[in-house]
Amino acid sequence: MAHSTARLLDDARDGRAMTWVIAIMLFLTVLAAAMGLATRNAASTLERSLAGRLTVQLTSGAPDARAALAELLRPWLGADSADPALPLPVMIDVDLADGAPATLARVRAAVAGIAPEARIDAHASWMASVAGMLSLATWLGAGLVALMASATAMVVVLAARAGLDAHRATIEVMHMLGATDVQVARLFQRRIARDALVGGAIGGAGALALVAVIGMRGAGLGSELLGAAGLGAGAWVTLALLPLCFVLLAMAAARVAVTRALRNIL
């Protein structure tokens, strides 16, 4: 009885509040998801760029390099750069093809064997706290999406229950005419799916547009980290699918809420 009973629930008895609630929820959800995806992207880019990179600092034992270093520092220190009392450590930038801890340990052992006083700084360890923050932001985004989804499901349940009360007379007639709970629930599912679809389209489109604008402005700043936080094609597809997921979630929540409530009616 799908198409023919589409008007069984009186539209005049329901406001459009549900559409706007879903729109706002979707707007916030897409923003939270975009934040999570962008920070995850930034964290993985950072991890890729820092993994296997280290600096070897030789504080002594490199007399051949001292003259070259003094020459490099002359624009800032002048003739004092050639002062033998001035400590001029030699910095060697190392980029390992394999950034595994075992490789790093082998490099440390090799350097220690040649120059015991040398210091080795792994770049990844400098940025560990930043990467930790980015990871936290990613999880925060995922948590917000989960919370928004839960809140949306609860709103739908409340709306479905309110709808049952508003349309109680119609539902009683339908039951007496032999309608099953699933048939009644389908009416509410269809109604809520329509509201969620419209709300999701409004909220989702608004959030996607905002994310695009923020992305363009971030890219314009020329910051390496902000550039790394851009969204790939997969992330955009994920964001675009969120409204659809919310429609399905809303339909499922409505069906469960209505069929459970109807069990209390003979």
Binding site: T5, L8, A169, L177, L266
Partner: protein, 248 residues
């Protein structure tokens, strides 16, 4: 309306009991019993009047019959099956076999008359192409052939009553239950409505009409009368336990 499944009145010996009540009682909450010790059988294809003063329990009895209420005690068998312990999921299938004319019509106000009448067919999953024909036929049968697009609120009480009757019978129910169907109409319209019920009964449907209008009883001479008094059924002759049925 299409012809009934049994093709008209049947003779008494051939009739089976389509409804059986055994010591049925109904209590709302913790109050006194609204219905007590009801024991009767309704024969398939027969016509019954249920009478009694206001508050005697007529509507409660009908609710038990059309499965809107479970009894507090006793046994109810509908179409040969125990309706008291029947799982909830099976009730819709049984309700589709019972047509109900509610005292307050219960038409859905925002739907057209045609859509109201079509509702049982749509609930039963009848293809849309097969709905409009029977609906038009029913509209003509109740004399509202030109009002299909109207909303219930634009109809008189009698017209709404006829729409409710059309909705109750369009699914070819095996039992038709009508609660005070002539309560809102003038005597002439009451006669016309009874004629509708009678013609339906002649097509094989068991009809039970609850009314406190005793004048109606004379309109269907071979109908049987059930009388409720303070929730108890008066059956001095025992005919309701062993219904003779309606003679063909």
């Amino acid at each position: 309306m299409a012809s009934g499944a049994r093709g008209g009145r049947q003779t008494a010996p051939a009739m089976a009991n389509i409804v059986q009540f055994e010591n049925v009682g109904l209590r709302y909450g913790t109050g006194q019993e609204t219905l007590s010790d009801l024991s009767f059988n309704l024969a398939s294809g027969a016509f019954y009047f249920l009478t009694g003063a206001s508050g005697a329990g007529k509507t409660s009895l009908l609710k038990l019959l059309y499965l809107a209420q479970r009894p507090s005690r006793g046994i109810i068998r509908l179409f040969g099956e125990d309706a008291v312990t029947m799982p909830r999921g099976r009730l819709p299938g049984f309700r589709r076999r019972i047509g109900v004319v509610f005292q307050d019509f219960r038409l859905i106000p925002h739907l057209s008359i045609a859509d109201n009448i079509a509702l049982p067919l749509r609930v039963a999953g009848v293809p849309e192409a097969d709905v409009s024909g029977p609906v038009s036929e029913m509209l003509a049968w109740v004399g509202l052939g030109d009002r299909g697009a109207a909303r219930p609120a634009t109809l008189s009480g009698g017209e709404q009553q006829r729409v409710a009757i059309a909705r109750a019978v369009i699914g070819r129910p095996e039992i038709l239950v009508a609660d005070e169907p002539t309560g809102n109409v003038d005597p002439e319209m009451a006669d016309r409505l009874l004629l509708l019920f009678d013609s339906l009964n002649r097509l094989g449907t068991t009809v039970l009409v609850a009314t406190h209008d005793l004048h109606l009883l004379s309109r269907v001479p071979d109908a049987q009368m059930m009388r409720l008094d303070k929730g108890r059924l008066q059956d001095p002759t025992g005919a309701l336990l062993h219904p003779p049925g309606r003679q063909g």
